[in-house]
């Protein structure tokens, strides 16, 4: 590490990096990050299975920001519901095994899913109850191409209807910018119910169609400050900070170029963005040497 900077609020996401789980963990740690967002793929595909993956994560010393992603869960009925509950249970078990306390759930895109918000809320409440014995919190995020829920304000509405203590909202800047959601809507959120914030920039001004959104989200994201939405990202982070959000920010950057570059190069880009957000935007101070991190509030 070069200079003393405080980037503890920010973490990388394994989906930005090529290679094996241990290589990703090492690259993120070597770039000076203290946390990492894990994907079920890293764990399921790890040589030696979930247990070995959990050990690798533990041994890296990195804190796990969260675990992703459960898709198309809510609003189904009959055998489709039962199937998704089984999938959810597997995800929860993996999430627990790697020491993650937040499971990310994306709003459903399924045409088989109900559009009734109370039905969506009922399923999310059930998921939250399944997560209680494992000590996991559920972060529900509105995908910008979600069928019924595609903005954070809608996701918040469903979270409020479900009313479970371990169910909150996940905010992804990409989706908020894609749908041009008003950042003023952040005012209606309770900061303690924001369980995860994911940040990413992208290179085009607008993504109008659903197809464009999906392609951009999955292939052409860049780190905060690298695209054309830096100002909006800074505003988003400032607003969340003013609202009282003190949780983690994870860089949710799907990028086809980054996934074929040396890991250290990508991690270094992420580090520059973290320094920009930490020092220039949030003006975080450097903690005193030997400062003990007390239990995190929720």
């Amino acid at each position: 590490m070069t200079a003393h900077v405080n980037i503890d609020d920010f973490g990388m996401d394994t989906i930005s990096l090529a290679g094996s789980l241990p290589a990703k963990l090492a690259a993120v740690r070597d770039a000076g990050f203290s946390q990492i967002m894990l994907s079920a793929r890293d764990v399921a595909g790890h040589e030696g299975g979930v247990e070995a993956a959990a050990r690798a994560v533990h041994d890296s010393g990195l804190r796990v920001t969260g675990f992703q992603v459960l898709r198309d869960f809510e609003g189904l009925s009959g055998h489709l519901h039962d199937y998704k509950v089984d999938i959810a249970k597997s995800m929860l078990e993996m999430c627990h095994a790697v020491g993650a306390s937040v499971l990310l759930v994306c709003s459903s895109t399924s045409s088989h899913a109900s559009t009734d918000r109370d039905a969506l809320a009922r399923d999310l409440r059930k998921l939250a109850m399944l997560a209680v014995p494992l000590g996991i919190r559920i972060a529900y995020e509105g995908l910008s191409w979600g069928r019924t829920i595609n903005e954070f304000a809608d996701a918040w509405d469903v979270v409020c209807r479900a009313d479970a203590p371990n169910l909150g909202i996940g905010i992804d800047s990409f989706h908020a910018f894609a749908t041009k959601s008003s950042l003023e809507d952040l005012e209606m959120l309770s900061p303690e119910k924001i369980f995860l914030v994911q940040l990413a920039d992208f290179m085009w001004q607008e993504v109008r169609t659903v197809e464009e959104r999906i392609t951009t989200a999955r292939h052409f994201r860049v780190f905060p400050g690298e695209g054309v939405h830096s100002e909006a990202l800074a505003e988003l982070v400032m607003r969340l900070d003013e609202l009282g959000y003190r949780g983690d920010y994870s860089f949710e950057v799907f990028n086809d170029d980054y996934s074929q570059m040396p890991l250290s190069t990508v991690a270094e880009r992420a580090r520059r963005c973290a320094i920009w957000l930490g020092e220039d935007v949030l003006r975080r101070s450097v903690p005193l040497p030997n400062q003990i991190r007390l239990r995190q509030g929720r």
Binding site: K89, R125, K126, L127, A128, M129, L130, V132, P133, G135, A164, P165, N166, I292, R293, L294, R295, Q296, G297, R298
Partner: protein
């Protein structure tokens, strides 16, 4: 249940399972005889043995305690180690199958059954930590122990309770900031209700008390002390509470049987309650004044 009064089982919204108290508490330990000695000091008597597994049934009055030394090869299950741990709570319900369906629909984890020939299939879900919650509906005209257990010869199968001891509650240790999660869990699945903070029982008033929907017992949720360093949350069923109409007389009777009690400045026996010493690395019983 075939009584005519049960012909119309109208679900009670406040007690969705028809919860009717605790059928048994199960401990797991690899030293069942050592725990048996502690239980006998506390007034329990061994009454029956499991047909196929290393499992013993202890009883006094209405209270059944199962001591399980059988190694189960299932994930998320208490494996018997030397230090006894509370591995399960069995709840009496109106209809075990209906209760099972209700809690699964609400988000409970099913424990796969491992039943031997001619044994009862008692439905179970995962509880806190590695513990389980069973549902039992045969407790009036018929006892589950008649099927899976054989009585120990010459022993009184229904030993009376010492000083009218009865189940009062279970203390659960929870992780930091988990009070609301567990309160919601017990409320959603079983219909427990949180008592106001000023309503307390016994001499260990920490945490939050949840009352069972039938009013027959309590769960007490206790968080770690604030300000301690971030540690792995250790969540478990920590101890059981026994109700008695006269705490000090019960303390005297138990002392005479060799039970030690904690007598410190902070915690000591008084008419509201008492706490036994810790045995075998963590087994303790709380006495609570409770008129039945």
């Amino acid at each position: 249940m075939n009584e005519s009064s049960d012909r119309e089982l109208i679900a009670d919204a406040a007690n969705p399972l028809g919860l009717d108290g605790i059928e048994f508490i199960e401990y797991a330990t690899s030293k069942p005889q050592a725990l048996g000695q502690v239980l006998e000091m506390m007034g329990f008597r061994p009454v029956a043995r499991h047909r196929s597994r290393e499992v013993l049934l202890y009883r006094q009055g209405e209270m059944n305690v199962i001591v399980n030394a059988h190694v189960a090869k299932l994930p998320r299950t208490v494996q018997p180690v030397e230090r006894p741990v509370i591995a399960a709570v069995a709840l009496r319900v109106r209809d075990a199958a209906a209760a099972y369906r209700h809690v699964i629909a609400a988000g409970a984890w099913v424990v796969p059954a491992q039943v031997e020939v001619m044994e009862l299939n008692i439905p179970a879900i995962h509880g806190v930590g590695s513990s389980r919650i069973y549902f039992v509906d045969r407790y009036r005209e018929f006892s589950i122990y008649d099927v899976d257990f054989t009585l120990i010869p010459t022993v009184d199968p229904k030993p009376p309770a010492l000083c009218d001891l009865h189940w009062f509650g279970i203390v659960q240790y929870i992780g930091a900031d988990r009070m609301e999660d567990w309160t919601e869990f017990y409320s959603e699945l079983f219909g427990f209700k949180a008592l106001p903070d000023e309503q307390r029982y016994g001499i260990l008033p920490k945490g939050r008390i949840l009352k069972s929907p039938d009013g027959s017992f309590f769960l007490q949720l206790i968080e770690p002390k604030p300000g301690i360093l971030e540690v792995e949350p250790d969540e478990s069923l920590q101890r059981v509470g026994l109700g008695t109409s006269d705490v000090l007389a019960t303390v005297a009777a138990l002392r005479a049987r060799g039970v030690g009690f904690v007598e410190s400045e902070g915690v000591h026996s008084d008419p509201r309650g008492a706490l036994t010493q810790s045995y075998l690395g963590g087994v303790m019983f709380e006495l609570v004044h409770d008129q039945r």
